[in-house]
């Protein structure tokens, strides 16, 4: 039986996440006016259409790329020693101490409540065309899966192989993989909610929504 109270208490005891913001590609970095200790805001809006606080600009081939905070929080580090310098892809530029949002807490807890269908190999994953159409029209929760169902295409080294779902039947409650991004072996691809678990999952969501206090 899922102990929602204990899981929630564990998260409350450590409600922050340190997020390292790295250069998405090479380029010459120019920092904005933010300084360590400042509060920054993350991506927001109903469709995540509002970018977060601008931290730096990375210029490559005369194209400026804004580097923004993806989550809200306190700016803990800013590598201003790199100002005006060429940086390689992946170079750490800043660290944000982020207080977990309600959605993130729900997502963390759902990983305990749902049946996680994990990646058999490090690869890129796609839904089969039939499932993909259903998800695009009705959302993932409109798709019911069952054991042995051909659900995904695993693509690695330019070869594609079908992936069959194993586990209890239910609806696809959460999709953890992103289009065209590699997923490590063992990482969750989908969270499937069996019908018998729906009540528990709904309770979990409700508890977080009422008990977790968001911070601006």
């Amino acid at each position: 039986m899922l102990d929602i109270t204990r899981l929630l208490e564990d998260i409350k005891a450590s409600p922050h996440e340190e997020i390292v913001i790295r250069a998405p590609h090479t380029g010459v970095v120019a920092f904005e006016s933010c300084r360590p200790g400042d509060m920054v805001s993350g991506v927001s809006g109903e469709w995540k259409e509002r970018p977060g606080t601008l931290l730096a600009t990375l210029t490559r081939e005369r194209n400026p790329k804004p580097v923004t905070a993806m989550q809200s929080g306190e700016l803990r580090e800013l590598h201003t020693e790199l100002e005006g310098k060429f940086v390689e892809a992946g170079t750490p530029l800043a660290v944000v101490r982020h207080f977990l949002s309600r959605e993130e807490v729900i997502s963390m807890l759902l990983k305990h409540a749902l049946h996680l269908f994990t990646a058999p190999e490090r690869a890129k994953y796609y839904f089969t065309p039939a499932v993909d159409i259903k998800i695009k029209t009705g959302g993932s929760r409109s798709v019911t899966v069952h054991h042995g169902m051909e659900l995904l295409i695993m693509s690695r080294m330019k070869r594609e192989t079908p992936v069959y779902y194993t586990g209890p039947g239910g609806i696809i409650y959460t999709v953890y993989f992103k289009h065209n991004q590699n997923v490590d072996a063992g990482a969750p691809l989908l969270g499937v909610c069996p019908e018998s678990q729906l009540a528990v999952v709904e309770e979990l969501v409700l508890r977080v929504q009422t008990e977790w206090k968001e911070r601006a």
Binding site: H25, R60, E61, F86, G90, S155, R156, K158, E160, N182
Partner: protein
């Protein structure tokens, strides 16, 4: 030659290693790139040892990354290797026409544009009377049009007396044997077409498809062309036979020269056939002013009819096997990658066809972590031991650290599990085969996957195929 150059190597793995070594031999500087997933590749180690700069990039496929790093490294030239940007005329044009211009080590962008596209090549070839494989002469995006072409190819084959006609459906933007399927039953055409179209869209972001007649019982031959920037004096470095392939039509074993008429009886005059394809290839090279290294790919049917398939406007994986049998003014030690760089930087060719001779036989083995018994599916895991007995007749090219300094190597899933190229030479066919066997027998290749299962490789497949090389199957 002017050695004040710095070459940015816009590639990875074994070819990056070979380009770095070639630059070092030529006395010119170089810089390498790598991605996060590729940080353990041996090309980084070789770059460090040879004094090349290293830059971490977000992707090998991102032109902005490559050019940004090239500027930072002070590069005067970009070598694309093979794959990635090697046959991208837009990239070549950008390298050579931007504000800070650099040299693209490869054919000029106009040549890549003219020949790099399979369809343009067919048109040009036909205009010169060079035979090509029947099929669509542009990418097809419309299902009905595709089916119409497929049906006409079926009917054409039936009229030619072919009992079981076959049509090939290919991703237009594909290459290296990926994204190709055969259609045995024309009524199944639509489902195959859709499957290839979807695959092409996912892998190449272009759903264009080519429809071609499938020619059965053929040998896949290549002609190695080399030319300087004048584009007026191309020479060939002989032929290669690349017929031994995986089930997915990926080359696994290449032999130079392309046939052995002195040792094997063919149903046609093989020596004359080799002359025909080299002269056709040179004719096309001269026509377009070909100005670097490139490969003309041919299909040769059992009755000795040649069809030009495509031109690869790049250095190819298998260049080394041609170099192995080549002699310049009678001397061995030809390095086609060094030649490509030297000529790309503007040096004159300095020799003519009569200075190039061929001696003996070369066999190139592509050593790959894969399971030949299971459709050559890639094997992923850790390489723990990789060694062989050095021989004067053997060249090994690898980026696997286990072979360079014994460090275990986790094969990244982002790339093909190619481990090494082994090239053996023999004075005659029998000696080349015997040495091929001796090499494969001496090879130590061990590793395990995440479940502890032992490494799978194609070494047994290569051994099995060695005896039958240069024969029509």
């Amino acid at each position: 030659m002017d050695t004040n150059h710095i070459v940015l190597i816009a590639n990875r793995g074994e070819i990056a290693v070979r380009i770095a070594q070639a630059c070092h031999r030529l006395g010119i500087g170089f810089a390498c790139v790598y991605t996060e997933e590729d940080a353990a590749s041996g090309h980084l180690q070789v770059a460090r040892e040879l004094g090349g700069a290293l830059f971490r990039v977000s992707s090998y496929h991102d032109a902005n990354e490559i050019l940004s790093v090239a500027d930072q490294a002070g590069a005067t030239a970009v070598h694309p290797g093979y794959g990635f940007f090697a046959e991208d005329f837009r990239f070549a044009r950008r390298v050579t026409t931007r504000d800070r211009k650099m040299i693209f080590i490869g054919p000029s962008w106009q040549v890549i544009q003219a020949l790099g596209d399979k369809i343009n090549t067919k048109r040009l070839a036909r205009s010169l009377g060079v035979p090509t494989v029947p099929g669509s002469d542009r990418p097809i995006y419309d299902e009905q049009e595709a089916e119409k072409i497929a049906r006409s190819l079926y009917e054409f084959q039936l009229q030619q007396g072919v009992a079981h006609p076959l049509v090939l459906v290919k991703a237009s933007a594909g290459g290296g044997g990926m994204g190709i399927e055969e259609v045995y039953d024309i009524d199944q055409f639509r489902s195959v077409y859709r499957s290839i179209r979807n695959y092409a869209l996912r892998q190449f972001k272009d759903e264009g498809v080519l429809i071609e007649q499938r020619i059965c019982e053929f040998n896949h031959l290549e002609v190695q062309i080399v030319a300087d920037r004048t584009g007026k004096n191309p020479v060939h470095f002989g032929t290669r036979n690349c017929s031994i392939q995986s089930t997915g039509r990926q080359k696994r074993l290449e032999v130079a020269p392309g046939f052995a008429p002195a040792d094997i009886k063919y149903d046609f005059d093989a020596a004359a056939l080799l002359d025909t394809i080299t002269s056709h290839s040179l004719k096309l090279a001269q026509k377009v002013g070909y100005d670097n290294v490139g490969t003309w790919e041919w299909i040769v049917t059992r009755d000795g009819s040649p069809f030009l398939m495509e031109v690869n406007t790049r250095i190819q994986v298998e260049n080394g096997v041609s170099a192995k049998i080549a002699r310049l003014n009678g001397k061995p030690g030809v390095d086609l990658i060094s030649e490509q760089i030297r000529l790309g930087l503007g040096e004159p060719l300095g020799y003519t066809q009569s200075d190039v001779s061929l001696e003996g036989f070369g066999i190139e083995y592509r050593i790959i972590a894969e399971d030949p018994a299971n459709h050559f599916s890639p094997w992923v895991g850790r390489i723990e031991r990789f060694s062989w007995e050095p021989q004067p007749w053997l060249s090994m090219h690898t980026h696997v650290p286990a072979a360079l300094d014994g460090t275990p190597y986790d094969i990244p899933t982002e790339f093909d599990p190619n481990l090494a190229l082994a090239i053996v030479w023999g004075a005659d066919l029998a000696e080349a085969k015997a040495r091929g066997h001796a090499f494969l027998d001496s090879l130590v290749l061990e590793g395990h996957d995440k479940d502890g299962s032992p490494l799978q490789s194609n070494v047994a497949f290569l051994k099995d195929r060695t005896d039958g090389i240069l024969r029509f199957a």
